[in-house]
């Protein structure tokens, strides 16, 4: 079923909408939630929350593309749940990301306001537009979908070492790029 039809189902308040979006994108959502939470039952609960979030958001929203909109909800719900849970039995892709970023980010001031965050997002986005396809893929898979380097390597055909090397270079370039834009991270 195409996205428009799924959105129409949401507008009609048909529960079939949840079935259809889950059928179409459930694998992607589960992947995100598992990467963040590393636990199937937490991921399932998170997905249920996300579906409820979608149900409440559409209408009035008529997102295009639906996948990106829904992915953001799943990711945010997963990160919320991640923060609220103290103990995790397994190391997740999210934890790998956070460890990696701890060494990368300065311990300086945080960006406190929403405008600052939005600007940072826009700058990261425009920085990615300047990179080649492979770099963009690695960055998005690593820091949006929070895949492990190993998964990215396997999917892209690069070696894990090559993925790490590229990530390191991308991050260094991003830092310089943001410096130029007056954003210190």
């Amino acid at each position: 079923m195409d996205d428009e039809k799924i959105i129409d189902l949401f507008f009609e308040r048909s529960e079939q909408a949840i079935t259809e979006i889950s059928k179409k994108y459930g694998g992607v959502f589960m992947n995100v939630a598992m990467n963040v939470l590393g636990n199937r039952s937490d991921a399932d609960e998170c997905l249920n929350d996300a579906y409820l979030g979608l149900w409440n958001a559409i209408p009035p929203a008529r997102p295009d593309p639906l996948l990106a909109f829904a992915c953001r909800i799943v990711r945010n719900k997963s990160l919320d749940r991640y923060r609220s849970k103290g103990f995790r039995s397994e190391r997740t892709g999210c934890e790998e990301c956070i460890d990696e970023l701890e060494n990368y980010l300065s311990s300086g001031e945080s960006i406190e306001n929403e405008i600052g965050e939005k600007r940072l997002s826009e700058c990261i986005n425009s920085f990615l537009d300047l990179r080649n396809e492979v770099d963009r893929m690695i960055f998005v898979r690593r820091f949006f979908y929070m895949d492990t380097c190993r998964d990215i390597a396997k999917a892209s055909g690069l070696s894990s070492g090559a993925v790490r090397t590229r990530l390191s270079r991308i991050k260094a370039d991003l830092k310089s790029y943001l410096d130029e834009k007056g954003i210190e991270i």
Binding site: R40, L67, E109, S110, E117, E133, R141, D147, S156, G161
Partner: protein, 489 residues
């Protein structure tokens, strides 16, 4: 700045990028048809597997080298790091081996490990309903790739199973992609001791007996024939000349058992020749049946890491639960807490039952079953029993099975008996216990430990609350039966 704040900011990147790269992970892509995937995903999938296979079909090798040549930092890339739009993709051609799928015609089927291939093969032997459940498992996406009925799976297995492949010493299977659209199968072997060293092999599905001259003519490329006196299985071996002497990746054409094969590696020429001369050549089917069986590879994307069940009634109920209606089944696994182990569908139960079915279940009149635990990652099964002479409910006897189809029994047994003070015990030719050793540990006289080989498995066995002679007598009184016999008793 905090890491989480950075991650939050990344959440604000453009929709186009989120959609474009939503399906790169093998977790998402496994088994999906290319036409099921977004455009960007198709491009990336091409990056992954098609490049080598595509080019076998006779496209200009110079163009290919240019495409595949890595730029700095991409030395190990298997695939071109160019914009996908630049790639030359052939129009899908009808192939005599292409199956008539019952729904969506398969384009690419990916097996992330040999374990996944083996499980797919085993699933083709299941009952129809169990196979349908296998397809419905969230672990598998084969259904999305036109595998609707067992016959589809059988066709895939027939296609792959007969293709030739070398068994390369020091290299292990990494993944396999069957590309019907390019009439080829691609296998990646990686070195088990040198990180980053790999050999990718793309094999044409359609047999071809063409000779080296025909290949040179067809490709119009600059190819050098290499001596094949030490390579009797190879009809010829042609090496593509690189435009760049520093390019670490080499390309070769050959023909093995009437299948044209394209080979891509970052190993040196001399290393590859040596490797090929010492290689055995078998079919992919034979490879699956014989190679790497001892590697305890966890199933990809498997959320089931562990399973345990207390009491024979509960085990019986669990094994027969796929016969319930869907609603009853879901209620059953929820109420019994099986969902905590990641069990979601009937296929998951079948998956576990199939593994338990391989076990030699110990059974003895004086011992009643208490519980079973299965560690899927370690391929280990633990069973506990209560002795009729002990306190009710006490765990007087434990068997921990490993090895067998899930590991190397010889190695496991040797490790134990070579590092400990053990006495061998004769069990007799008719005994189900093939080898038996008793641990000599006077400091722990209340725990009698045995190491054994039982029905091909390595077994660690311990008795508590029994004397040494009672423990030995008890162990020898055990019979070992299949799962169905065990739960029927």
């Amino acid at each position: 700045m905090k890491a989480e704040q950075f991650l939050k900011a990344v959440g604000g990147i453009g929709d186009d990028k989120i959609v474009e790269y939503s399906s790169v992970s093998p977790v998402v892509n496994k088994g999906k048809s290319r036409q099921d995937q977004p455009e960007g995903s198709k491009k990336l999938r091409n990056l992954l597997s098609a490049a080598a296979a595509v080019l076998i079909l006779g496209f200009g090798i110079f163009a290919m080298i240019r495409l595949l040549k890595p730029s700095a930092g991409e030395q190990h890339a298997l695939v071109p790091a160019t914009e996908p739009a630049e790639q030359t993709t052939p129009a899908p051609t009808a192939s005599p081996t292409q199956p008539t799928a019952t729904s969506v015609p398969p384009q690419q089927i990916i097996f992330d490990s040999m374990a996944a291939y083996r499980e797919f093969a085993a699933a083709a032997e299941l009952d129809d309903w169990a196979f349908a459940e296998f397809l419905r498992s969230p672990r598998n996406n084969y259904e999305m790739n036109g595998i609707s009925v067992k016959e589809d799976a059988v066709r895939v297995l027939n296609t792959l199973g007969s293709l030739p492949t070398p068994v390369l010493e020091g290299f292990v299977f990494d993944y396999l992609v069957l590309c019907y659209d390019t009439d080829s199968a691609f296998i990646l072997y990686k070195s088990d001791d040198r990180e980053g060293l790999y050999i990718g092999i793309a094999i044409d599905l359609t047999p071809s007996d063409e000779d080296a001259e025909a290949v040179i003519e067809a490709t119009g490329a600059k190819l050098t024939a290499l001596p094949t006196e030490n390579l009797p299985e190879l009809k010829y071996l042609l090496r593509a000349e690189s435009e760049n002497d520093f390019d670490p990746i080499s390309f070769y054409y050959t023909n093995i058992r009437s299948h044209r094969v394209f080979l891509r590696t970052n190993a040196s020429n001399s290393f590859l020749l040596k490797l090929l001369s010492s290689a055995r050549y078998i079919t992919i089917g034979e490879y699956a049946e014989t190679i790497g069986l001892s590697e305890n590879v966890p199933l990809p994307n498997s959320y089931i890491r562990r399973f345990s069940c207390s009491g024979m009634d509960a085990l019986r109920d669990f094994i027969s639960s796929p016969e319930m209606s869907d609603d009853d089944f879901l209620q059953f696994i929820e109420e019994r807490g099986y969902t905590d182990f990641g069990i979601q569908t009937k296929a998951d139960v079948v998956w576990i039952a199939k593994r338990l079915d391989k076990l030699p279940f110990p059974t003895a009149a004086e011992f009643s079953f208490i519980f079973i635990e299965y560690d899927a990652l370690m391929g280990r099964f633990g069973l506990a029993y209560n002795w009729s002479g002990g306190f009710p409910g006490d765990n007087n006897c434990e068997f921990i099975f490993s090895g067998g189809p899930f590991g190397n029994t010889d190695v496991l047994l040797e490790e134990e008996i070579s590092s400990k003070n053990v006495s061998p015990i004769e069990t007799g030719a008719d005994s189900p216990i093939q080898r038996l050793y008793m641990l000599e540990d006077p400091e722990n006289a209340d725990l009698n430990v045995f190491y054994a080989e039982i029905d091909g498995f390595f077994a660690w066995i311990a008795f508590s609350g029994l004397s040494r002679s009672e423990a030995l007598e008890a162990l020898l009184s055990f019979d070992f039966v299949g799962l169905s016999e065990m739960i029927d008793e």
